[in-house]
């Protein structure tokens, strides 16, 4: 029943969202209703969000949170600025790009301590021991996506000219990788990495992952944002939300809670079999609770500054944004 | 009447029953009609009485119950017909008058019907009266025994109309024409037999009246004309 009501609230917010432009509602007095826009659909990468809601951690803080799934056309920054969502999940490059264009947003938590973006490859066909080995390879890239920025930085740092590699425009369909037309294919290690890996394993093929973090490119991934206005006007509300969310992630990442977390995710992500969700969760734990569970939600200032530097270097932004001013880690 | 003595008919309909789909009452019930072979005849009656429907049944274009027999091909033409727009009038008429005899007839008809000056035009560029005449000409070039003309001269001026009717009588003495018109004077003067179609409730539904059958050499007197007109109007 609870799921029904939460789904209904989510649906209602999704339906009424477009009409609420001129009535941005921060009326969070009694039983605060909060809209929380995710970056993508509910899967292992949103484990903490789902657990915080399902286990009543938001409710314990007096918050009624509608978790709104994201998607390619959803932009949490835009929705937060327009007042359609109170909180949202955005990747670091989105945040920095938004700040460069004056979006009045702040970062209140960092979900991934290690960027899950990897490139999958077949070790029998491709040897990648360092960034230098990218030379001469056919590399999949999402033009306009943060993997393009990361790849270009990698190439630049290893003095590999664009003419020395062959970039292949990727989409949701992995066929070119299966057909071995592409050597390296970008994916999220903890999500698609498990699913694609399973298929390759079933086909008897060996596979490995190339992690740009290990090649020296630190690029922050998903983080939780809210509006500067909400933080200024209702800091205690932001604090309560962030606290509940962090507890949700801590619970979700706790090995003893893994089975329950997997079941909760499976309720929304029916397409992924439960064993694979368990595997995804184990990998997510490595990326989120890194180096230890105490680091869950920690905002890594150095990594953010490096991300900003990369984006400046790659001309993704035309001026520095002084990212430190937009980071608001909230102590529990 | 013995079968041998019975006058030869261009079209015979016996025991015709017809209703529009969904209509409560039949339009025609147990109706019989004999259109005489040869001559210029009329089908006359008020608007909406079913003249066009009867004409289409006579031409075999509308299915009905009853017995229908014809002496030779029957064609049906109506006043709102159009010619394909991509050909000129001349081109179209030459196409549909393939036989050499028809070509000769065509030249005569173009002259007598007064359309020889508009042969290079397209159908859409003609006046309504010219369109009526062009349409009628192409039917006259076909192989027919009976031609049903459903208001085929509706937009033609009176003088030209008379000239056309007289031409038809002269050139096609052995063919039958069934002319549908609302002009009582015209049908009284030029038609040999006037088939008067009345409401379905009236018995009989069809009354045949002798017309004056005027030709170029045999004009009719005003008195006879008035008497025939009165007879038609009273019978209606």
């Amino acid at each position: 029943m609870a799921t029904f009501w939460h789904s209904s609230v989510a649906l209602l917010v999704a339906l009424l969202g477009p009409f609420s432009l001129f009535s941005p509602s921060f009326a969070t007095a009694a039983d605060e209703q909060i809209a929380y826009r995710l970056k993508w659909l509910i899967n292992a990468s949103t484990a903490g969000d789902v657990v915080a809601e399902a286990e009543g951690l938001f409710a314990a803080e007096g918050l009624q949170v509608a978790i709104l799934p994201g998607g390619p056309e959803r932009d949490a920054i835009r929705e937060v600025e327009l007042g359609r969502a109170h909180f949202g999940v955005a990747s670091a490059d989105q945040v920095i790009r938004g700040l460069a264009k004056g979006a009045p947003i702040v970062v209140v938590a960092q979900l991934f301590q290690v960027n899950p973006l990897n490139w999958i490859y077949r070790p029998e066909q491709t040897t990648i021991s360092s960034g230098d080995d990218l030379r001469g390879k056919v590399i999949g890239v999402t033009y306009g996506g943060n993997d393009e920025t990361i790849l270009r930085t990698l190439l630049q740092r290893h003095h590999i000219g664009e003419e020395e590699v062959q970039l292949f425009s990727v989409r949701h369909d992995y066929t070119p990788f299966y057909q071995k037309k592409v050597d390296l294919w970008p994916l999220y290690r903890n999500a698609q990495g498990v699913i694609i890996g399973e298929k390759l394993r079933a086909a008897g093929e060996a596979f490995a992952f190339f992690n740009p973090d290990q090649a020296g490119v630190r690029f922050v991934a998903n983080s939780v944002i809210t509006s500067a206005k909400l933080l200024a006007e209702k800091p205690e509300l932001v604090q309560r939300f962030t606290t509940a969310l962090r507890r949700g992630w801590q619970l979700a990442m706790a090995p003893e809670h893994a089975e329950r977390t997997a079941e909760l995710i499976h309720r929304f992500d029916r397409e992924t079999p439960l064993p694979l969700i368990r595997e995804q969760l184990a990998l997510t734990r490595e990326l989120v609770a890194h180096p230890s569970p105490a680091d869950i939600g920690r905002i890594d200032l150095v990594a953010w500054q490096e991300t900003e530097a990369i984006m400046l270097e790659q001309k993704q932004i035309d001026r520095p944004v002084d990212i430190a001013t937009a980071l608001h880690p909230l102590a529990e | 009447m013995d079968e041998g003595e019975r006058p030869r008919a261009a079209i015979t309909i016996d025991n015709l029953h017809f209703s529009y789909p969904g209509a409560g009452r039949p339009l025609f019930a147990n109706l019989s009609l004999h259109l005489p072979a040869g001559g210029f005849h009329a089908l006359f009656g008020p608007s909406g009485i079913g003249k066009s429907t009867l004409a289409r049944i006579l031409a075999g274009l509308t299915a009905c119950s009853g017995r229908r027999s014809t002496a030779g091909p029957v064609l049906y033409t109506y006043n709102t017909e159009r010619l394909p727009g991509w050909l000129t009038i001349g081109e179209h008429l030459r196409q549909v008058a393939a036989a050499p005899a028809a070509t000769t007839t065509l030249a005569t008809l173009e002259d007598r019907f007064g359309i020889d000056h508009c042969l290079n035009r397209r159908f859409g560029q003609l006046s309504l009266g010219q369109q009526n005449r062009v349409n009628l000409i192409r039917y006259l070039l076909q192989d027919f025994q009976t031609l049903i003309m459903d208001e085929s001269l509706a937009n033609v001026d009176e003088g030209t109309r008379e000239r056309i009717i007289i031409t038809l009588k002269e050139h096609y003495p052995d063919r039958s024409f069934l002319y549908i018109s609302h002009n009582v004077l015209e049908v009284a003067r030029f038609c040999r037999q006037i088939i008067l179609l009345r409401e379905a409730a009236k018995e009989p539904q069809i009354v045949a009246i002798e017309g004056l059958d005027a030709t170029a050499g045999h004009p009719v007197s005003q008195t006879r004309l008035e008497r025939t007109v009165l007879e038609i109007l009273h019978a209606g």
Binding site: Y143, G144, S169 | L75, E81, P84, C118
Partner: protein, 253 residues
Amino acid sequence: MLANRLLQFLLLYFLAIGGLLAMKYLLGLSDYVIPGVAAMATAFTEMAAIYLGDLLDSLRVALLGHALSLLLAAGVGILASRSTALGSLIRAAAYTVQTYPIVAVAPIIFILLGDGLASRLLITILVCYFPLLLTTISVLTEPVADIEHFFISTGRNRWSLQVAIRLYENMGKLITVVAGSATLAMVGTIVAEFVAADAGIGFSIRKALYQSDLAHILVALFLVGIWTSIYLGVLETAGALIEKKWRNPAGGG
């Protein structure tokens, strides 16, 4: 006609831009949500030439796809109008194909045909041929009784003549649908590029969307609008000329 189309588009485009800017300044929104005039101008100077190249690439596919759609719709439409059984089967197939969202079908197409021109063309055709097909079927199955009556009565009614009469008599309708489907051809091409291809203006829009760059998207939409208006205007002008020559020739000669 062409000038009208361009003027109408420019009016609508700048009205929309005006609306966006009014919203931006009234609500105090950042350049991230709605770019300001300066950001739009910068995006235009930086991207117009690049996007024009992309757009011409898309336009090439759209034109080719549109032409093939016309041929396909004419061929299938004629087949569908000839026989009742085959016709209803083709109509059913056409409706079914149309109900599939193209974004769902696109990956299958790309698996089968690769990510070259063929896939883009096929998706363009799938998007724009349906109205053409329906119009062709409706035109070819609807008798023009006042013209056909003579040919039927005199035993001259050939199938080719019947097709000619029906096409000729519905020329205005056909020209309107052909011109209208030009817009759909453009939409189809952009959708194909958006979903999967790695060239064309749809691909550029997708890249700009990834970066939430509305200013770049507005530049792309401006160019798409201008060129679609030109294409539409040219087709309408050509249609009007054809109609004038064939349907209403001046004078009697």
